[in-house]
Symmetry: C2
Subunit: 190 residues, 2 copies
């Protein structure tokens, strides 16, 4: 079987982590792999802040949860139903429980910077899977508070926080559509 | 060496293709791998149109180049300099020369759909590398004309066109920053 297929299929989003420390060299390897992704005009608009200080993880968690509380007051429709169905709520314990967080930043004013950074995140997810590490691509509802905690200048924005660690989560992977439901040939109309 | 590292490092953007047909099963495998990516609320907002009809490839090329010609009249600054330095111009022959195109669509009105689709594209790029196929993540300056050619409804937008084939390009990979230039610890300030 294709190796990439194996990692892509096996990889699932994890929100509960074993709190034991992980090897930071593994995390640096995953980021090094992400930094090999292509980017618009090869600007490489990604930057990463690795956080392992427990006090700082707590502050990131608090800054994120403050924003989530405001978001949950306003959310409605399909998105609210999905949050409810998955028992998601403003509490984000994984930001403290994971041994390490990677805050993924994108440079502002660079063409295709969001697209480029998320291509790199795709690389990072597969790299982490190969390294037997788990994560969730979490984007706080209010990124400004987190950026302030980390003293990030206004030339960068937050795209995602990746809490990284060994999985302590027993839930199964969310089902995916069959490829035949996603692909058409030579026209939108079948 | 890590397998994902190997594919990520080896993989480079290709704009010149051998026009010989490729195995469509390989392309479907790469898309199947992409469709294993995580997405906001597991909406899986990605759809793919595979194009191998030469007449249709020509129409996609024309629709794209019409938009590029208008874009190149307006572009300025760093971006214009980069385009100039790379000898890029409104001509997009790879849209006709590659044996096959994959048009990557994203569902509108879905939270984090751009982020989700580009995570999937990250997976697809590594999958294609393993399959010994090359591509470039090309986004037309004006996507509307291409969507019209393919009769895509307004509920979807175009994120990228991936021309796929065997490389016929001798250029080397663009250099990447060292990981030490991209990573900070526990704070933006070193």
């Amino acid at each position: 079987m294709s190796t990439v297929l194996k990692y892509a299929t096996k990889r699932r989003t994890i929100r509960k982590f074993d709190s034991n420390p992980i090897n930071i060299e593994d995390v640096l390897m995953a980021l090094k792999i992400g930094a090999q992704a292509p980017s618009g005009a090869n600007y490489q608009p990604w930057r990463f802040i690795i956080i392992d200080d427990p006090k700082l993880k707590r502050r990131i968690r608090e800054a994120s949860e403050d924003g989530e509380k405001e978001f949950y007051k306003k959310v409605s429709g399909d998105w609210a139903e999905w949050l409810e169905s998955k028992k998601l709520n403003p509490s984000k314990p994984f930001l403290e429980e994971a041994p390490l967080l990677v805050v993924v930043l994108a440079q502002n004013g660079i063409p295709y910077s969001t697209e480029s950074v998320w291509t790199a995140i795709g690389y990072i997810l597969l790299a982490l899977e190969e390294l037997n590490l788990s994560t969730v691509t979490y984007t706080p509802s209010d990124t400004k508070r987190v950026l302030e905690v980390l003293n990030v200048p206004e030339t960068f924005r937050l795209e995602a926080i990746l809490p990284i660690g060994k999985s302590n989560d027993t839930k199964i992977k969310e089902p995916r559509y069959e490829i035949s439901d996603l692909v058409r040939f030579n026209n939108w109309h079948l």
